[in-house]
Symmetry: C2
Subunit: 185 residues, 2 copies
């Protein structure tokens, strides 16, 4: 059997939104980084609200031959029990992440930019709707832009080419199973 | 800010089902492989119904330092327009994939086993419900087992610890944009 290689008549950057309350949003974005690396494409991942708690993808992407750059800009999830930082402190970090995203877009070095949890950051008022619109506006046509996180704003979904809602059918933690490395983080 | 590392009190293998019609099922499974590699865990991916058409994850996983093994066993999607193979031919390949999955489980070499599109293969009668139950039964407790594909069988969802339905809100192909490397394949 011959293996075929598909090449679209026209290459164009896509805006992809992955939202919903189920497992598989960040995970899906990481899968796109892996897939892009297979094509030799370069990915930049900026994680909003993450940075306080180790996750396997941080070392996973380092193995991809320098094709993926990941920055976790946050102090943990805003509003989560036990998180000691104020809303203003979370917002400061998210604002820095937006500035970083502008820099990475301007650099022209990437084929895929993943703004992980930005939907959630917008919902929690750590970034403003206008700021996300501005990032979308600045995106050059060939750049893929992936926005993950629950509670995606309807206007951002409107601007997406592809949008998925990951719905939770069930989750292990509801029966008392703690998060497991490799699957959950 | 100190980075914390979470370690569950008890490690246990999870059964994860990712189903639905939206984008982000296989992609999510690939993200788990990447994340697991970051933890130094070993992953085996067996793709049902895929193998005729190049996808970026094939080369992406090769970059992960030998931690991920991927076999695409199929002849393309059964029933898709233009696919020249008979149902019996597709079924033969899927049956070989089930046998391979048993071998990989028996080898004890893996922490994570991804059966990509097996839900779909079951729905299309390329594998039998009893065969999927048998794989779940054979799974040793520490092994994570991920089953992707649309139309997951309710009995398989019942046996899952975590299950997500990826619902399509919109998809670029509906407005005539062809699949793009790095994002769609």
């Amino acid at each position: 059997m011959e293996i075929r290689t598909f090449e679209p008549k026209e290459r164009c950057g896509l805006v992809v939104v992955i939202t919903g309350y189920g497992k598989g949003k960040t995970t899906s974005a990481m899968g796109m980084a892996l897939r892009a690396a297979g094509h030799g494409m370069k990915t930049c991942i900026i994680q909003f609200m993450k940075g306080d708690l180790y996750s396997g993808e941080w070392d996973g992407v380092k193995k991809l031959g320098g094709l993926v750059e990941l920055t976790a800009t946050g102090k943990g999830f805003c509003g989560i029990e036990g998180n000691p930082y104020s809303h203003a402190e979370h917002r400061k970090n998210a604002q820095d992440a937006v500035a970083l995203a502008h820099d990475k877009i301007a650099s022209g070095r990437f084929d895929l930019l993943i703004l992980d949890e930005i939907n959630n950051a917008l919902h929690l008022n750590l970034v403003d709707l206008d700021q996300v619109h501005a990032l979308l506006h600045k995106r050059p046509a060939p750049l893929h832009l992936v926005l993950t996180g629950r509670d995606a704003h309807p206007e951002i979904i409107d601007r997406a080419d592809t949008a998925s809602e990951v719905r939770e059918i069930k989750h292990a933690y509801r029966k008392g199973i703690e998060p497991q490395p490799g699957v959950d983080f």
